[in-house]
Subunit: 208 residues, 2 copies
Protein backbone atom coordinates (compact mmCIF):
# COMPACT_ATOMS: atom_id res chain seq x y z
CA UNK A 1 0.00 0.00 0.00
CA UNK A 2 1.23 3.50 -0.77
CA UNK A 3 -0.03 6.79 0.59
CA UNK A 4 -1.90 7.42 -2.66
CA UNK A 5 -3.86 4.17 -2.34
CA UNK A 6 -7.30 4.51 -0.75
CA UNK A 7 -7.42 2.91 2.67
CA UNK A 8 -9.13 -0.49 2.67
CA UNK A 9 -12.49 -0.45 4.45
CA UNK A 10 -13.12 -3.04 7.16
CA UNK A 11 -16.79 -3.99 7.23
CA UNK A 12 -17.78 -5.55 10.56
CA UNK A 13 -20.90 -7.67 10.76
CA UNK A 14 -22.86 -7.13 13.99
CA UNK A 15 -25.70 -9.39 15.12
CA UNK A 16 -27.46 -9.86 18.47
CA UNK A 17 -25.17 -11.72 20.82
CA UNK A 18 -21.87 -10.86 19.12
CA UNK A 19 -18.78 -11.18 21.32
CA UNK A 20 -17.40 -7.78 22.37
CA UNK A 21 -13.71 -8.59 22.08
CA UNK A 22 -14.14 -10.42 18.75
CA UNK A 23 -15.24 -7.10 17.27
CA UNK A 24 -13.40 -4.42 19.18
CA UNK A 25 -10.04 -6.17 19.59
CA UNK A 26 -9.38 -6.43 15.85
CA UNK A 27 -11.01 -3.05 15.15
CA UNK A 28 -8.86 -1.29 17.74
CA UNK A 29 -5.76 -2.68 16.05
CA UNK A 30 -6.94 -1.92 12.51
CA UNK A 31 -7.79 1.66 13.46
CA UNK A 32 -5.26 2.62 16.15
CA UNK A 33 -2.93 4.13 13.54
CA UNK A 34 -4.85 6.71 11.52
CA UNK A 35 -3.71 5.90 8.01
CA UNK A 36 -4.23 2.17 7.62
CA UNK A 37 -7.94 1.34 7.35
CA UNK A 38 -11.43 2.80 7.21
CA UNK A 39 -14.37 1.06 8.81
CA UNK A 40 -18.11 0.53 8.52
CA UNK A 41 -20.31 -1.15 11.11
CA UNK A 42 -22.94 -3.35 9.46
CA UNK A 43 -26.01 -5.27 10.61
CA UNK A 44 -29.31 -6.46 9.18
CA UNK A 45 -30.81 -3.15 10.30
CA UNK A 46 -29.12 0.10 11.27
CA UNK A 47 -29.18 1.04 14.94
CA UNK A 48 -28.18 -0.54 18.19
CA UNK A 49 -27.05 -4.16 18.41
CA UNK A 50 -26.70 -5.78 21.82
CA UNK A 51 -23.61 -7.92 22.39
CA UNK A 52 -23.63 -11.31 24.07
CA UNK A 53 -22.20 -9.66 27.17
CA UNK A 54 -24.82 -6.88 27.14
CA UNK A 55 -23.09 -3.64 26.09
CA UNK A 56 -24.47 -2.28 22.84
CA UNK A 57 -22.80 -0.99 19.67
CA UNK A 58 -24.25 0.92 16.76
CA UNK A 59 -24.56 -0.35 13.19
CA UNK A 60 -24.46 2.61 10.85
CA UNK A 61 -25.39 0.81 7.65
CA UNK A 62 -27.69 -2.06 6.75
CA UNK A 63 -25.96 -5.02 5.15
CA UNK A 64 -28.40 -4.84 2.22
CA UNK A 65 -27.30 -1.23 1.58
CA UNK A 66 -23.61 -2.13 1.49
CA UNK A 67 -22.38 -2.89 -2.00
CA UNK A 68 -18.96 -4.18 -1.02
CA UNK A 69 -16.18 -3.97 1.53
CA UNK A 70 -12.45 -4.53 1.16
CA UNK A 71 -12.14 -6.59 4.33
CA UNK A 72 -15.03 -8.42 5.96
CA UNK A 73 -14.87 -9.11 9.71
CA UNK A 74 -17.26 -11.77 11.04
CA UNK A 75 -17.16 -12.05 14.84
CA UNK A 76 -18.34 -14.91 16.98
CA UNK A 77 -20.29 -14.92 20.20
CA UNK A 78 -23.24 -16.78 21.64
CA UNK A 79 -25.48 -15.22 18.98
CA UNK A 80 -23.89 -17.40 16.31
CA UNK A 81 -25.94 -20.35 17.63
CA UNK A 82 -29.03 -18.55 16.33
CA UNK A 83 -27.49 -16.84 13.31
CA UNK A 84 -26.32 -20.08 11.66
CA UNK A 85 -30.03 -20.60 10.97
CA UNK A 86 -30.58 -17.05 9.68
CA UNK A 87 -30.55 -17.19 5.85
CA UNK A 88 -30.71 -13.40 5.50
CA UNK A 89 -27.50 -12.83 7.44
CA UNK A 90 -25.72 -15.79 5.84
CA UNK A 91 -26.71 -14.57 2.37
CA UNK A 92 -25.22 -11.13 3.05
CA UNK A 93 -22.01 -12.62 4.46
CA UNK A 94 -21.77 -14.84 1.39
CA UNK A 95 -22.35 -11.90 -0.99
CA UNK A 96 -19.83 -9.57 0.65
CA UNK A 97 -17.26 -12.38 0.93
CA UNK A 98 -17.33 -12.96 -2.81
CA UNK A 99 -15.92 -9.53 -3.66
CA UNK A 100 -13.93 -8.77 -0.49
CA UNK A 101 -10.17 -8.66 -0.78
CA UNK A 102 -9.91 -10.40 2.60
CA UNK A 103 -12.45 -12.22 4.74
CA UNK A 104 -11.73 -12.60 8.45
CA UNK A 105 -13.50 -14.46 11.23
CA UNK A 106 -13.00 -14.62 14.97
CA UNK A 107 -14.06 -17.49 17.22
CA UNK A 108 -17.44 -19.00 16.27
CA UNK A 109 -17.74 -16.44 13.48
CA UNK A 110 -16.09 -19.23 11.48
CA UNK A 111 -19.35 -21.18 11.74
CA UNK A 112 -21.25 -18.39 9.99
CA UNK A 113 -18.74 -18.10 7.17
CA UNK A 114 -18.47 -21.90 6.85
CA UNK A 115 -22.25 -22.22 6.50
CA UNK A 116 -22.13 -20.02 3.38
CA UNK A 117 -19.81 -22.51 1.69
CA UNK A 118 -17.11 -19.88 1.26
CA UNK A 119 -14.67 -21.94 3.30
CA UNK A 120 -15.23 -25.21 1.43
CA UNK A 121 -11.90 -26.95 0.75
CA UNK A 122 -10.08 -24.13 2.56
CA UNK A 123 -7.99 -24.46 5.70
CA UNK A 124 -9.68 -22.68 8.63
CA UNK A 125 -9.85 -22.65 12.41
CA UNK A 126 -12.21 -21.55 15.16
CA UNK A 127 -12.28 -21.50 18.93
CA UNK A 128 -11.47 -24.67 20.78
CA UNK A 129 -14.19 -24.70 23.45
CA UNK A 130 -16.89 -24.86 20.74
CA UNK A 131 -14.87 -26.96 18.31
CA UNK A 132 -17.36 -29.81 17.83
CA UNK A 133 -20.30 -27.49 17.25
CA UNK A 134 -18.52 -25.21 14.77
CA UNK A 135 -16.88 -27.96 12.75
CA UNK A 136 -20.19 -29.87 12.57
CA UNK A 137 -21.73 -26.93 10.71
CA UNK A 138 -19.77 -27.73 7.53
CA UNK A 139 -17.73 -30.87 6.89
CA UNK A 140 -16.36 -29.57 3.56
CA UNK A 141 -14.00 -27.20 5.40
CA UNK A 142 -10.45 -28.38 6.08
CA UNK A 143 -10.63 -27.58 9.80
CA UNK A 144 -7.25 -27.03 11.51
CA UNK A 145 -7.40 -27.74 15.25
CA UNK A 146 -4.00 -26.45 16.35
CA UNK A 147 -3.69 -22.84 15.18
CA UNK A 148 -3.89 -19.38 16.70
CA UNK A 149 -5.11 -18.33 13.31
CA UNK A 150 -5.08 -19.75 9.76
CA UNK A 151 -4.43 -17.94 6.49
CA UNK A 152 -5.65 -19.59 3.30
CA UNK A 153 -5.64 -17.20 0.38
CA UNK A 154 -7.91 -14.33 1.25
CA UNK A 155 -9.42 -16.09 4.28
CA UNK A 156 -8.01 -15.30 7.74
CA UNK A 157 -9.82 -17.33 10.42
CA UNK A 158 -8.89 -17.18 14.07
CA UNK A 159 -9.25 -19.18 17.22
CA UNK A 160 -11.28 -18.03 20.24
CA UNK A 161 -12.02 -14.43 21.27
CA UNK A 162 -8.60 -12.91 22.01
CA UNK A 163 -7.01 -14.73 19.05
CA UNK A 164 -8.78 -12.26 16.79
CA UNK A 165 -6.26 -9.62 17.82
CA UNK A 166 -3.34 -11.80 16.77
CA UNK A 167 -5.06 -12.58 13.48
CA UNK A 168 -5.72 -8.88 12.90
CA UNK A 169 -2.01 -8.16 13.29
CA UNK A 170 -1.35 -11.00 10.85
CA UNK A 171 -3.55 -9.22 8.33
CA UNK A 172 -1.88 -5.88 8.98
CA UNK A 173 1.40 -7.66 8.28
CA UNK A 174 -0.01 -9.20 5.08
CA UNK A 175 -1.15 -5.83 3.75
CA UNK A 176 1.38 -3.35 5.19
CA UNK A 177 4.34 -5.51 6.24
CA UNK A 178 5.84 -6.74 9.50
CA UNK A 179 7.18 -3.34 10.55
CA UNK A 180 3.72 -1.78 10.53
CA UNK A 181 2.17 -4.75 12.34
CA UNK A 182 4.77 -4.38 15.07
CA UNK A 183 4.12 -0.63 15.21
CA UNK A 184 0.42 -1.32 15.82
CA UNK A 185 1.24 -3.83 18.57
CA UNK A 186 3.61 -1.32 20.19
CA UNK A 187 0.99 1.44 20.09
CA UNK A 188 -1.45 -0.87 21.87
CA UNK A 189 1.30 -2.13 24.20
CA UNK A 190 0.32 -5.61 23.05
CA UNK A 191 2.57 -8.65 23.18
CA UNK A 192 1.67 -10.09 19.80
CA UNK A 193 1.39 -13.89 19.70
CA UNK A 194 2.82 -13.77 16.19
CA UNK A 195 3.30 -17.49 15.61
CA UNK A 196 0.01 -18.53 14.04
CA UNK A 197 0.79 -22.20 14.81
CA UNK A 198 1.32 -21.68 18.55
CA UNK A 199 -1.98 -22.71 20.12
CA UNK A 200 -1.86 -24.19 23.63
CA UNK A 201 -5.66 -24.14 23.81
CA UNK A 202 -6.03 -26.96 21.27
CA UNK A 203 -4.11 -29.21 23.63
CA UNK A 204 -6.00 -28.02 26.71
CA UNK A 205 -9.24 -28.97 25.01
CA UNK A 206 -7.84 -32.37 23.92
CA UNK A 207 -7.98 -31.63 20.19
CA UNK A 208 -4.36 -32.60 19.44
Amino acid sequence: MTSSTPKPTVGTVLFPGFELLDVFGPLDFFLILPDLFDFVMLAEKTGSVRSGQGPTALAERALSDCESVDILLVPGGKGTRTEVENPTLLCEIDRLSQTAQYVTTVCTGSALLAKTGQLDHKRATTNKAAWQWVTSQRSEVDWVAKARWVEDGKFFTSSGVSAGMDMALGLVQEIYGEKTAKEVALRAEYKWNNDSNDDPFAEIHGLV
Copy 2:
Protein backbone atom coordinates in the same frame (compact mmCIF):
# COMPACT_ATOMS: atom_id res chain seq x y z
CA MET B 1 -17.84 -13.86 46.86
CA THR B 2 -20.49 -16.51 47.37
CA SER B 3 -23.43 -17.36 45.16
CA SER B 4 -25.76 -15.53 47.55
CA THR B 5 -23.78 -12.27 47.19
CA PRO B 6 -25.14 -9.85 44.57
CA LYS B 7 -22.81 -9.55 41.60
CA PRO B 8 -20.69 -6.39 41.69
CA THR B 9 -21.66 -3.88 39.01
CA VAL B 10 -18.94 -2.52 36.74
CA GLY B 11 -19.72 1.06 35.74
CA THR B 12 -17.85 2.08 32.60
CA VAL B 13 -17.36 5.76 31.85
CA LEU B 14 -17.72 6.57 28.15
CA PHE B 15 -16.71 9.92 26.64
CA PRO B 16 -16.10 11.07 23.06
CA GLY B 17 -12.81 9.65 21.86
CA PHE B 18 -12.60 6.71 24.27
CA GLU B 19 -10.30 3.86 23.18
CA LEU B 20 -12.27 0.80 22.01
CA LEU B 21 -10.05 -1.87 23.52
CA ASP B 22 -9.68 0.00 26.84
CA VAL B 23 -13.42 -0.47 27.32
CA PHE B 24 -14.31 -3.70 25.61
CA GLY B 25 -11.23 -5.74 26.53
CA PRO B 26 -11.84 -5.52 30.28
CA LEU B 27 -15.63 -5.71 29.86
CA ASP B 28 -15.39 -8.86 27.77
CA PHE B 29 -13.36 -10.50 30.51
CA PHE B 30 -15.57 -9.25 33.36
CA LEU B 31 -18.70 -10.49 31.57
CA ILE B 32 -17.61 -13.60 29.64
CA LEU B 33 -18.63 -15.87 32.53
CA PRO B 34 -22.26 -15.17 33.39
CA ASP B 35 -22.13 -15.12 37.17
CA LEU B 36 -19.31 -12.75 38.04
CA PHE B 37 -20.32 -9.14 37.33
CA ASP B 38 -23.14 -6.90 36.16
CA PHE B 39 -22.47 -3.80 34.09
CA VAL B 40 -23.75 -0.32 33.36
CA MET B 41 -22.52 1.93 30.56
CA LEU B 42 -22.30 5.55 31.71
CA ALA B 43 -21.69 8.91 30.05
CA GLU B 44 -22.55 12.54 30.64
CA LYS B 45 -25.68 11.97 28.55
CA THR B 46 -27.40 8.74 27.57
CA GLY B 47 -27.14 7.69 23.95
CA SER B 48 -24.39 7.07 21.48
CA VAL B 49 -20.75 7.88 22.23
CA ARG B 50 -18.22 7.80 19.43
CA SER B 51 -14.88 6.15 20.17
CA GLY B 52 -11.51 7.56 19.19
CA GLN B 53 -11.36 4.98 16.41
CA GLY B 54 -14.87 5.82 15.18
CA PRO B 55 -17.17 2.92 16.10
CA THR B 56 -19.90 3.95 18.50
CA ALA B 57 -21.19 2.47 21.75
CA LEU B 58 -24.32 3.24 23.72
CA ALA B 59 -24.45 4.76 27.20
CA GLU B 60 -27.61 3.61 28.92
CA ARG B 61 -27.44 5.85 31.96
CA ALA B 62 -26.29 9.41 32.61
CA LEU B 63 -23.51 9.70 35.16
CA SER B 64 -25.59 12.19 37.14
CA ASP B 65 -28.36 9.56 37.44
CA CYS B 66 -26.01 6.91 38.79
CA GLU B 67 -25.86 6.86 42.55
CA SER B 68 -22.97 4.44 42.87
CA VAL B 69 -21.17 1.52 41.26
CA ASP B 70 -19.17 -1.29 42.83
CA ILE B 71 -16.35 -1.08 40.30
CA LEU B 72 -15.57 2.00 38.23
CA LEU B 73 -13.81 1.55 34.88
CA VAL B 74 -12.20 4.67 33.39
CA PRO B 75 -10.80 4.07 29.91
CA GLY B 76 -8.23 6.13 28.03
CA GLY B 77 -8.12 7.22 24.44
CA LYS B 78 -7.44 10.41 22.54
CA GLY B 79 -10.53 11.98 24.09
CA THR B 80 -8.78 12.20 27.45
CA ARG B 81 -6.80 15.19 26.11
CA THR B 82 -10.07 17.13 26.12
CA GLU B 83 -11.73 15.50 29.10
CA VAL B 84 -8.96 16.41 31.57
CA GLU B 85 -10.35 19.94 31.20
CA ASN B 86 -13.99 18.86 31.63
CA PRO B 87 -14.99 19.57 35.26
CA THR B 88 -18.39 17.87 34.87
CA LEU B 89 -16.89 14.52 33.90
CA LEU B 90 -14.07 14.77 36.46
CA CYS B 91 -16.56 15.61 39.21
CA GLU B 92 -18.63 12.51 38.41
CA ILE B 93 -15.53 10.29 38.30
CA ASP B 94 -14.47 11.74 41.65
CA ARG B 95 -17.91 11.18 43.18
CA LEU B 96 -18.29 7.58 41.99
CA SER B 97 -14.70 6.76 42.99
CA GLN B 98 -15.36 7.77 46.57
CA THR B 99 -17.89 5.00 47.18
CA ALA B 100 -16.73 2.39 44.67
CA GLN B 101 -15.24 -0.82 46.05
CA TYR B 102 -12.65 -0.76 43.27
CA VAL B 103 -11.58 1.94 40.82
CA THR B 104 -9.84 0.86 37.61
CA THR B 105 -8.21 2.80 34.81
CA VAL B 106 -6.74 1.81 31.47
CA CYS B 107 -4.11 3.75 29.55
CA THR B 108 -4.60 7.54 29.69
CA GLY B 109 -7.73 6.98 31.78
CA SER B 110 -5.25 7.33 34.63
CA ALA B 111 -4.95 11.03 33.75
CA LEU B 112 -8.67 11.56 34.35
CA LEU B 113 -8.65 9.77 37.70
CA ALA B 114 -5.41 11.50 38.73
CA LYS B 115 -6.90 14.94 37.99
CA THR B 116 -9.63 14.28 40.58
CA GLY B 117 -7.01 13.87 43.30
CA GLN B 118 -8.19 10.32 44.04
CA LEU B 119 -4.74 8.92 43.21
CA ASP B 120 -2.78 11.36 45.36
CA HIS B 121 -0.05 9.55 47.29
CA LYS B 122 -1.10 6.29 45.65
CA ARG B 123 1.02 4.11 43.37
CA ALA B 124 -0.34 4.14 39.82
CA THR B 125 0.68 3.62 36.22
CA THR B 126 -0.47 4.57 32.73
CA ASN B 127 0.58 3.95 29.17
CA LYS B 128 4.16 4.52 28.22
CA ALA B 129 3.79 6.37 24.91
CA ALA B 130 1.94 9.23 26.68
CA TRP B 131 3.88 8.98 29.93
CA GLN B 132 5.04 12.58 30.13
CA TRP B 133 1.62 14.01 29.40
CA VAL B 134 -0.27 11.82 31.87
CA THR B 135 2.18 12.17 34.73
CA SER B 136 2.31 15.95 34.25
CA GLN B 137 -1.41 16.11 35.04
CA ARG B 138 -0.82 15.41 38.73
CA SER B 139 2.53 15.37 40.48
CA GLU B 140 1.05 14.15 43.79
CA VAL B 141 0.63 10.64 42.35
CA ASP B 142 3.40 8.09 42.98
CA TRP B 143 3.74 7.19 39.28
CA VAL B 144 5.27 3.75 38.60
CA ALA B 145 6.92 3.58 35.17
CA LYS B 146 7.65 -0.13 34.92
CA ALA B 147 4.38 -2.00 35.49
CA ARG B 148 1.81 -3.85 33.39
CA TRP B 149 -0.64 -2.75 36.03
CA VAL B 150 -0.47 -1.42 39.61
CA GLU B 151 -2.69 -2.31 42.56
CA ASP B 152 -2.79 0.11 45.48
CA GLY B 153 -5.68 -0.60 47.80
CA LYS B 154 -8.84 -0.24 45.80
CA PHE B 155 -7.11 1.38 42.83
CA PHE B 156 -6.14 -0.82 39.86
CA THR B 157 -4.41 1.26 37.16
CA SER B 158 -3.05 -0.24 33.99
CA SER B 159 -0.57 0.52 31.27
CA GLY B 160 -1.53 1.13 27.63
CA VAL B 161 -4.60 -0.22 25.83
CA SER B 162 -4.17 -4.02 25.88
CA ALA B 163 -2.81 -3.94 29.45
CA GLY B 164 -6.35 -3.28 30.61
CA MET B 165 -7.19 -6.92 29.92
CA ASP B 166 -4.36 -8.12 32.16
CA MET B 167 -5.44 -5.68 34.88
CA ALA B 168 -9.02 -6.88 34.57
CA LEU B 169 -7.89 -10.45 35.18
CA GLY B 170 -5.92 -9.16 38.17
CA LEU B 171 -9.14 -7.73 39.58
CA VAL B 172 -11.06 -10.95 38.87
CA GLN B 173 -8.30 -12.70 40.82
CA GLU B 174 -8.57 -10.18 43.67
CA ILE B 175 -12.33 -10.66 43.99
CA TYR B 176 -12.89 -14.30 42.97
CA GLY B 177 -9.44 -15.91 43.23
CA GLU B 178 -6.77 -17.13 40.83
CA LYS B 179 -8.75 -20.17 39.65
CA THR B 180 -11.60 -18.01 38.38
CA ALA B 181 -9.22 -15.53 36.72
CA LYS B 182 -7.58 -18.40 34.86
CA GLU B 183 -11.01 -19.75 33.89
CA VAL B 184 -11.87 -16.38 32.34
CA ALA B 185 -8.57 -16.30 30.43
CA LEU B 186 -9.16 -19.85 29.19
CA ARG B 187 -12.68 -19.00 28.03
CA ALA B 188 -11.27 -16.08 26.04
CA GLU B 189 -8.29 -18.18 24.87
CA TYR B 190 -6.12 -15.41 26.28
CA LYS B 191 -2.52 -15.83 27.36
CA TRP B 192 -2.70 -13.74 30.51
CA ASN B 193 0.36 -11.59 31.19
CA ASN B 194 -0.16 -12.24 34.88
CA ASP B 195 3.04 -10.68 36.22
CA SER B 196 2.02 -7.10 36.91
CA ASN B 197 5.70 -6.05 37.05
CA ASP B 198 6.61 -7.44 33.62
CA ASP B 199 6.50 -4.39 31.34
CA PRO B 200 8.83 -4.36 28.33
CA PHE B 201 7.18 -1.20 27.03
CA ALA B 202 8.64 0.97 29.80
CA GLU B 203 12.10 0.05 28.54
CA ILE B 204 11.18 0.51 24.87
CA HIS B 205 10.06 4.05 25.67
CA GLY B 206 13.23 4.74 27.71
CA LEU B 207 11.44 5.15 31.03
CA VAL B 208 13.61 2.70 32.98
